[in-house]
């Protein structure tokens, strides 16, 4: 049956057309986002590299995503280990996944109402806390399946040979779960780096993340700078995913969850 591939092709074309057009328009030589471009150049990438506000936002986003990923691993890995070994009731796993069931808009609004009176809006702790809500569930879920996939014999052997539980965990279990750890850290970084809606409530004039800078720019202006910035964001995500896929089978982990 040749109809299915044809219809699938239409679906793919529809799905990928906005990304393809963004890539094309980022090379436009025009002053505005008009199609077709009258010429091609790298001028908007150059403009992006000289845009102080965007560079500052990029630095903020990179540092924030790295911080949030680290905190999420520190909090999520022990919980995932306990859950995978059946040492905590399964309902805890459900509770830790709960934020993914609610719209980020509502979570962001709730956080605004809590953090505003405390003077924590537009601060690093406030933003990190907001991102942690949506990052932690992914880390717990990925690490649970990573720990569950490990053969328990190795940890048992370590314990038989006299290793204390803590030592066995650090020297045996954790190194074996390294692919899962890398995948979790990557996903945590990407989710935080791309997070837009919660951040919208928690940023301020002095503290802006890159997705928010892109969002505000798109609201007010339409020049190819936004396309160039979008391409930078896409390339960064794609590179991280591809590298990690080679290292740890990232897409398999996603597909299973």
């Amino acid at each position: 049956m040749k109809v299915t591939p044809l219809l699938a092709g239409i679906g793919y074309a529809f799905l990928l057309s906005p990304l393809a057009i963004v890539a094309l328009m980022s090379l436009s030589d025009d002053q505005y986002l008009t199609f077709p471009p009258h010429g091609f150049s790298f001028r908007w990438y150059v403009a992006l590299a000289h845009n102080a506000a965007m560079l500052e936002a990029a630095r903020t986003s990179l540092a924030l995503a790295a911080t949030v990923a680290l905190i999420a691993l520190l909090l999520g890995v022990p919980a995932a280990f306990a859950l995978a070994r059946g040492a905590a009731p399964a309902v805890v796993a459900g509770v830790l996944a709960a934020p993914l069931l609610l719209p980020t808009l509502v979570i962001g609004l709730g956080l605004l109402m809590v953090l505003q009176p405390l003077g924590l809006v537009a601060t690093w702790p406030g933003l990190a806390l907001g991102h942690l809500v949506v990052v932690l569930p992914f880390v717990v879920r990925l690490m649970m399946s990573a720990f569950a996939g490990l053969p328990p014999e190795m940890a048992e052997a370590a314990s038989t040979l006299g290793a204390r539980p803590w030592r066995g965990f650090v020297l045996v279990t954790l190194p074996m779960a390294l692919p899962g750890l890398i995948a979790s850290a990557t996903l945590a970084f990407l989710v935080s780096f791309d997070e837009t809606v919660i951040s919208l409530f928690l940023v301020g004039p002095r503290l802006v993340t890159l997705p928010i800078a892109l969002f505000r720019y798109t609201e007010s202006r339409t020049d190819p700078l936004v396309a160039a910035l979008a391409v930078v964001l896409i390339v960064l995500s794609a590179t991280v995913v591809l590298v990690v896929d080679r290292l740890a089978g990232f897409t398999r982990t996603i597909a299973r969850s």
Binding site: T4, L96, L105
Partner: protein, 277 residues
């Protein structure tokens, strides 16, 4: 491992979510019981006045209905477009299968704003579609800052989820049944209607509901593609929270949206139980 150790290991994560998630949700619920006076000043109270004000305003009923219709439209279009993709990925033995599967869900990892920018260029007044139309001497069409643009952008943004849900539900589709039908002389189209479609009906239902729920929750696409002229639940909540600064109204609308989502979530669980039985 002992139970007490297990709880100890879970405690930091649970504490973090209690502070950053449970507490804000309780504050949101509490906020919806406060009231605002005519000048917009917040008055602490334990009252359902804000809910009554929102329910009494016919504007909100229209806006709420528009949200549901928009989400149903986007969910239907997304499932229609994703179904052949999922079916193709499920059946193919091509060595590109892995790559094509990744490409189908890759937009999930791309900022929603970046994809909206792409649609603005395709659908805009000086965009791709209008350039093609003017090339053929046809009149221009307005496809952004209105419902049409939001429908198109939203459809695309929920498609990867629909594809994933469809693929997850295709487990019951045994290719041997389709082969048997065609061996017995059934035409491909008849095999599809009588064998493939009934076997994947559960997956279609689950994917549609997921796409519907995500469409109601979506904010970036309606806000940016609608250009401030499309009003749905999500944009109303945002505007009440950040523009009119009517926090009780924003909170009450959020609670209303959450109740809507819980009802739909219950329906989704019921459907997946039935199709699993």
């Amino acid at each position: 491992m002992r139970r007490s150790t297990g709880w100890l290991l879970c405690a930091p994560a649970l504490a973090a979510l209690a502070i950053a998630f449970v507490w804000p949700m309780l504050v949101l619920l509490r906020m919806s019981l406060n009231v605002t006076d005519e000048s917009g000043v917040l008055i602490p109270a334990w009252s359902l006045a804000t809910y009554k004000r929102l329910i009494g305003d016919s504007y909100n009923w229209g806006m709420s209905w528009d949200s549901l219709v928009l989400s149903a439209t986007a969910a239907t279009a997304a499932v229609l477009l994703s179904y052949p993709m999922a079916l193709f990925l499920f059946r193919t033995h091509s060595r590109w299968r892995g790559l094509l599967a990744v490409v189908a869900v890759a937009p999930l990892l791309v900022s929603g704003t970046a994809r909206v920018i792409g649609w603005l260029v395709i659908l805009g007044d000086h965009g791709l579609i209008n350039a093609v139309l003017s090339f053929f001497g046809l009149p221009a069409v307005t496809l952004i800052n209105n419902w049409a643009g939001v429908r198109i952008g939203l459809t695309e943004s929920v498609m990867p989820y629909a594809t994933l849900a469809l693929l997850a539900g295709f487990g019951r589709l045994d290719p041997r049944l389709e082969e048997a039908a065609s061996t017995l002389g059934s035409l491909p189209i008849r095999t599809f209607w009588r064998v493939t479609l009934p076997l994947t009906a559960g997956a279609i239902g689950a994917a549609w509901l997921l796409a519907f729920v995500l469409s109601i929750s979506a904010f970036i696409t309606p806000h940016l593609m609608g250009g401030g002229r499309v009003f749905v639940l999500a944009t109303e909540i945002y505007d009440a929270a950040t523009q009119t600064l009517d926090w009780p109204a924003a909170a009450a609308l959020s609670v209303y949206t959450l109740m809507l989502l819980f009802v739909l979530g219950g329906a989704k669980v019921a459907i997946s139980r039935r199709s699993a039985a």
